[in-house]
């Protein structure tokens, strides 16, 4: 049941109706039942994995909480008897015990993800090495990959770390916790929420609020527009360019970078808009996942604006812990002593950055293209960091140029193209091929061929190209207009204008959307992660 299917619309409408009909104390029960029904639609075989992640993280968190409560009670009861140093030592001992429980939970949680998502990839590498030694290849297992497993596993593991760090208290009610993990609007493509922020919303009671519902509805519709009109139309040409990548080189690769940027932006932000909009209708505020990423002036900024919750997850639960862990501290000390302060200070940070981006790439998919994608992002960030003094000197030398709007546009275009270039690894999948296609942009001067009719061979008619261009412009304009205040917020307080815009959007989606027979209605790209 994809977000853009008629069955989902019916399902969501029934859930909303029931949610506001039952006594308010029972609202979260409606969401829990709806979430499991939603997941059942994906396939009954997937349910076991969701339940496993829920039960494991619930039990592990409860165990850690029990120890933490006992620790606090003991310290409180013996506050007068124990010295400060004794209390500290006791707490450190207890923390270690909780750490072992946490590690057990992380191994159990990430273990499932690793087995299901990466066994095939790892076996492929082993098989290649095995055959390289002159042996017969063996069969690579093709394991089931439950829908949204990366998202709910990360959410559950983040919760465990928060409980370990005492940033969150473990939820006592299993069913409430089950809802936190399975909340259906965000179950299959995020955002990756934090327990403290989301649980407050999920378990509070919510009354019907017409203004809020209008705002949510506008966001849902806007999400559908971005997905069906922009992403799925662009996908037709992207697919042609990828499947015919032997022919479509040079300027076509550049076109692919532009089109795939539009596709993935429409697809991912469209899906998140549906998630956030639907949650808003229910009265639940879900974390924002995007903040006009294509207006970023640097790669670092881009990653603060694109897939925000994943970025902060990796920063909080991978990068920081890795940067300050004891082995890294020792490494830092060692490198400073051996390589001097300048390099020695940076080296541990760089190691942590590389590890974080390697894992980010791996999170996106089990394939070399994703790993290379992550490492290239890392490379760009590190190189920009190293070049910062040079940029600063340039900025100081040309202050008027830097202050001009044109320079800002240049920076945005540069970041957009760089990110698009790296992102194309996601399309072509084959690392070697992608590199050769990038190179072809310098060697194959086929822009005239593309402009004089080549564009007609990409699966879209002239009218569709125009429509796609206008749709992208509309998305851009709305994004620009909403810089100070989201357009839907402005609309939600004006019922007549809202109705007019909503009707207009519905018409545009119904008429120009790439859905139904004749279109290869694609899943949301991030559902696959």
């Amino acid at each position: 049941m994809t977000f853009t299917s008629a069955s989902f619309l019916l399902f969501a409408a029934l859930t909303v109706l029931l949610y506001f009909t039952v006594p308010r104390r029972g609202q979260w029960w409606v969401l829990l039942v709806a979430s499991y029904v939603f997941y059942l639609f994906a396939g009954v075989e997937y349910l076991a994995f969701l339940l496993y992640a829920t039960v494991v993280s619930y039990v592990v968190a409860r165990l850690m909480q029990a120890r933490a409560d006992a620790e606090d009670a003991f310290v409180e009861a013996n506050r007068d008897r124990l010295e400060k140093s004794e209390r500290k030592a006791f707490r450190a001992k207890e923390k270690k015990k909780r750490f072992f429980i946490l590690v057990g939970g992380l191994v159990a949680g990430f273990g499932m993800l690793a087995v299901l998502k990466y066994t095939g990839f790892a076996a492929g590498i082993v098989c290649a090495a095995w055959t390289g030694m002159g042996n017969e290849p063996f069969e690579i297992p093709d394991l089931l990959l439950p829908l949204g497993i990366s998202f709910y596993t990360f959410q559950a593991m983040g919760y465990l770390i928060d409980v370990y760090r005492k940033n969150a208290r473990a939820e006592r009610n299993f069913f409430r916790f089950a809802l936190f993990i399975s909340y259906f609007p965000q179950l299959i493509q995020g955002p990756i929420s934090r327990f403290e922020a989301l649980s407050e919303q999920l378990f509070a009671t919510h009354a019907w609020d017409a203004t809020r519902v209008r705002s949510g509805l506008a966001r849902v519709l806007w999400g559908f527009f971005k997905k069906l009109v922009v992403a799925d139309t662009a996908m037709i040409a992207v697919k042609t360019l990828v499947t015919g990548s032997d022919t479509y080189t040079g300027a076509y690769v550049f076109l692919l970078i532009l089109l795939y940027s539009a596709q993935i932006y429409g697809d991912f932000t469209g899906g998140i808009d549906v998630t956030i909009g639907l949650s808003e209708i229910l009265g639940i505020r879900v974390a924002e996942n995007f903040n006009r990423p294509f207006s970023s002036k640097s790669t670092k900024e881009y990653w603060r604006r694109w897939h925000i919750t994943m970025g902060t997850w990796f920063t909080d639960y991978v990068f920081y812990p890795l940067s300050v862990c004891s082995p890294m501290q020792r490494f830092s000390k060692f490198s400073r002593a051996k390589l001097g302060n300048a390099i020695g200070k940076r080296l541990p940070v760089y190691v942590a950055t590389v590890a974080t981006w390697f894992l980010t790439g791996l999170w996106h998919g089990a394939g070399w293209n994703f790993i290379v994608w992550g490492l290239l992002n890392c490379l760009v960030i590190l190189v920009s960091q190293e070049l910062t003094p040079l940029y600063d000197r340039f900025h100081a030398k040309f202050p008027r140029l830097v202050a001009s709007g044109a320079y800002g546009v240049f920076q945005m275009a540069r970041t957009f193209l760089l990110m698009g270039l790296i992102r194309s690894l996601d399309c072509y999948r084959d690392v070697g091929k992608t590199f050769s296609l990038w190179f072809s942009m310098l060697t194959d001067w086929n822009l005239p061929q593309l402009l004089t009719g080549g564009w007609r061979t990409l699966g879209l008619t002239g009218a569709e190209w125009c429509m796609l261009g206008l749709a992208i412009l509309l998305v851009f304009a709305v994004s620009l207009a909403g810089k100070k205040r989201p357009v839907r917020e402005w609309l939600s307080t004006r019922p007549v204008t809202f109705t007019l815009c909503a009707c207009g959007l519905i018409l545009l989606i119904l008429l120009f959307g790439a859905y139904g027979i004749g279109y290869d209605a694609s899943q949301f790209i991030y559902n696959q992660f």
């Binding site: 008629a6 008619t461 009218a463 569709e464 429509m467 019922p495 007549v496 109705t499 007019l500 009707c503 207009g504 519905i506 018409l507 119904l510 008429l511 120009f512 959307g513 790439a514 859905y515 139904g516 027979i517 004749g518 279109y519």
Partner: protein, 341 residues
Amino acid sequence: MKKKILCCIGIVLACALLLSFLQLLVVPKYASASREGNLIGEYYAETTPHDVLFVGDCEVYESFTPPTLWEEYGITSYIRGSAQQLTWHSYYLLEEMLREETPKAVVFNVLALKYGVPQSEAYNRMTLDGMRWSTSKIGALRASMREEESFLSYVFPLLRFHSRWKELSWEDFEYLFTRAKISHNGYMMQTGVHPKTSDRVGDALIDYTLPQGSMEYLERMRLLCEEKGIAFILIKAPTNNYKYYWYDEWDAQVREYAEGHQLAYYNFIPLCEEIGIDWSTDTYDGGAHLNVFGAEKLTSYFGAILAGHLGLEGHKEDAALSAIWQEKLDAYYRERNGTES
């Protein structure tokens, strides 16, 4: 506030109207291409009942000419057929027609029995979109829809045909509220001549058993006719192109079924010579289908069977009916003689 609510309702209504208009605009008009798509809907323009109802695929709507049947025998008839009309399509169309009229005979062409499962969304559309909403249409949809099709898209064809916005032509505006009339009581005339040059037979099959799915609907058609006291006649049109080949094994099964239920079954393939069909002049596509000259010969021959063996009487003495049919005949000859585009 009241004003605002009224304004919102107005906008929603205007949007609904616009949507309805867009739906009318984008649905295919079948006026110049795939004209068969208009056949099913034309039945609703009929004002008088019929003695004989034909149901089936292209082998009926291109093999029998109701105007000839009237002209020569005074028998009124209608062909409810469309391209690749499957057996369950025919059943539900028949069910729908028998709610409105009780003919003396129902004629079913058996070639479609070879299909046991839905075949093509495009052909489903050409048959089903023309039907008016009724329990019969719902039944036909449930029996016919392929996995990729959705019921909702039959209720709101805009959901299926929205992508036609980029290929709209003047024709879509011309036939916005009406449809081009393309048949003569369900007969789609073909005047071209393209002789049959090959006697190639169909490829050997692994299994010659006619599918249970289609045989079940054949039985349901028989029961429907039996319930209403209507003669149910099975026929096989004389065309036997290798692409649409009628195997002896299939013929034997249909014959056995007909004999088992005391039904008349006429396989016209071995009777071509007796009918007078000349494959060098009576087909428009190398023998796959008859043209108007072949169809007239077959209709004459079959008319004699209907009038003679089955005892159907003509209605030429009925002045009102004659006037109506004279108009149909005039239209028929205008097209046949090329005086009408």
